[in-house]
Symmetry: C2
Subunit: 403 residues, 2 copies
Amino acid sequence: MLHISKRAQEMPASAIRKLVPLSDAAEASGVTVYHLNVGAPDIASPACALEAVKSRAEELHHVSYTNSAGLIELRRGMVEKYYKPLGLDITTAQLLLTVGGSEAFATAMQAAAGPGEEIIVVEPFYTNYQTYAFLNGITLKAVHSDIREGFRVPDISAFEALLTPATRAVLLSNPCNPSGKLFTREEMLKIGDFCRRQDLFLICDEVYREFCYTDEPYFSALCIPGCEQNVIIVDSVSKRYNLCGSRVGCIVSRNEEVMACALKYAQARLCPPLLGQYAALGALDTPASYFKEVRDEYIRRRDCALEALNAMPGVYAPMPYGAFYTVAELPVADAGDFAKWLLTDFRDGNETLMVTPAASFYKTPGAGDSQVRIAYVLELPRLRRAMELLQKALTEYGKCQKR
Amino acid sequence: MLHISKRAQEMPASAIRKLVPLSDAAEASGVTVYHLNVGAPDIASPACALEAVKSRAEELHHVSYTNSAGLIELRRGMVEKYYKPLGLDITTAQLLLTVGGSEAFATAMQAAAGPGEEIIVVEPFYTNYQTYAFLNGITLKAVHSDIREGFRVPDISAFEALLTPATRAVLLSNPCNPSGKLFTREEMLKIGDFCRRQDLFLICDEVYREFCYTDEPYFSALCIPGCEQNVIIVDSVSKRYNLCGSRVGCIVSRNEEVMACALKYAQARLCPPLLGQYAALGALDTPASYFKEVRDEYIRRRDCALEALNAMPGVYAPMPYGAFYTVAELPVADAGDFAKWLLTDFRDGNETLMVTPAASFYKTPGAGDSQVRIAYVLELPRLRRAMELLQKALTEYGKCQKR
């Protein structure tokens, strides 16, 4: 009998996207679904980004391949606009353009580890790390950070306890998707010191770097002294400029071996998308006022969502200081079942909402079973309505469960 | 000591792109390089494709993610324009959009085989198949087709001889990159029959389908009777519409397991590029006259290149009937060294050319050592000049070798 490969059968489906067929079905039947499930903001891309696409398309003879590492002018621009402001003298040779942040972390993981090797992650973590680990035969080992402690990073002893001869890297996102946790300078220095002492790569996914809600300056892993050879950065234009669909990201490292490896991977897939690179090029001219407005808007949304969540009986969500997500503990035993039920059964005024069950953001069995990730990416009136729907749904679901 | 993973170290560099730093250096020093090394045509994209990008960018609020499977209107359009004309009733559920043809064949290979398993390829084959096989721990076993026999497909006994319990698929490109070989209906039926009998997937890379230079109608693997569950098609808008940089391709199969697997892979990388999908959507309106003109142009280029090549002493290249490549045997012992020398040493009027050494298109040791792949993707005057350069280079290289 003809079957797909064992590995393909065993590959986990995206926890974030696997409910999509159910929401498609709800929407097809006329139901309005409030999408709090994906980090797909509804904020306008900078006008200069779209303008650049238009004017380049106007002049274009044909949509050609670019260099596998991406357009040199865009690499230069990102060095200038992304890394100079952090006080960093990154060169274009240390920055390679990827097909979104997804390819950047896939590449970073492949550079750091191979089949049978291990990467330490801080849980909860972005679920696609698990997918790419699986595809490459890499095992993720998780240091647990707890929702009830505001996802504080545990002592280094927790990292040390996971060390084996096969450990190759530590991987984290800062600000963190899904928790919204912003790592402190001290936490980063501690982790950096651990990586340096143990000869591990430190893969730091910084795609939400523009979304920090404290007055502290952002502390990039690239700024950890003595960790120059260890650090691999994952970055993207997606969130920064609301250009998610452009599929342009980058991998940054001062480690020459890593960059040579990244180029080999890049050559296999030929090049990043040209038109998305044009959008990113245009976006480099985005005025500071754009970022301020976006940041202010997210602070309003965050405050709205967090206040509403923590006012719901039995719900707890710690204040996120970065990104546009929060993890919330709900008064349900199985948040996966609840999320499904929202799409298949719950309706209020022919409306419902979609959230992401958090279990797949954890390696520790049971750790996230009652939790969901909420992306506060809707404008305020819609976000308020979504929160109202969630409250009603929890009440109704509670009644159903008791029956 | 900190080092990249063993697998990353061992990963082969792209044979097609690894000479790029040398050509960059030559160009930086003011030398004109005629690029016969990549299948990057210089033909204009259809006006309707660029127009669509412009008008969509005009109206766009933000560049958002799309469904992981791609825009449904584009999937419908491709079903209609790509597969209906072949007499096929493919559904949108049987077609998933990918990040270029590269992702489509990576996905197809992953669906068919896993670590420790094997795929039979017909050599010479597109070198990136080897890269993705390596990354997935898959072994390629090669059936040899010979340049001196016009790359005729050997008897099925040659395929049978490679069968092991780990064999999962046959993989080929038709028309073939790099040889320009167009598989006959009979050859496809024979291979299809073999796959059906042995329960193997038949992965057929048909990205050059629009570039056939015979009067026979193209025979897609999807048309092989009884092979409905076995066939996985790799397709792309890149070559068809001169939209290489748009990074939009697709994977097509009637096998539900394969498509469910393709969706899991697709969800991990979120979505294909939106702006490229807009270009592809616009391209669906490309008039038939465009394809006729492009085809006529490639026939002229092919004839020009092949006549020139076969007139050079010691050079042999069989007539290609599809795609825009030919493999040529040169009077050199090491075509890799020759290709490098072209970029580093050879100059004629401060010009040189770039070709791809063919060794990496073969698994059989030594099989392609004297051969290069030539992409006849330049307009006629430049192609003629490139051929003149090649002839002069061969003469000069011959003299250098004798010294």
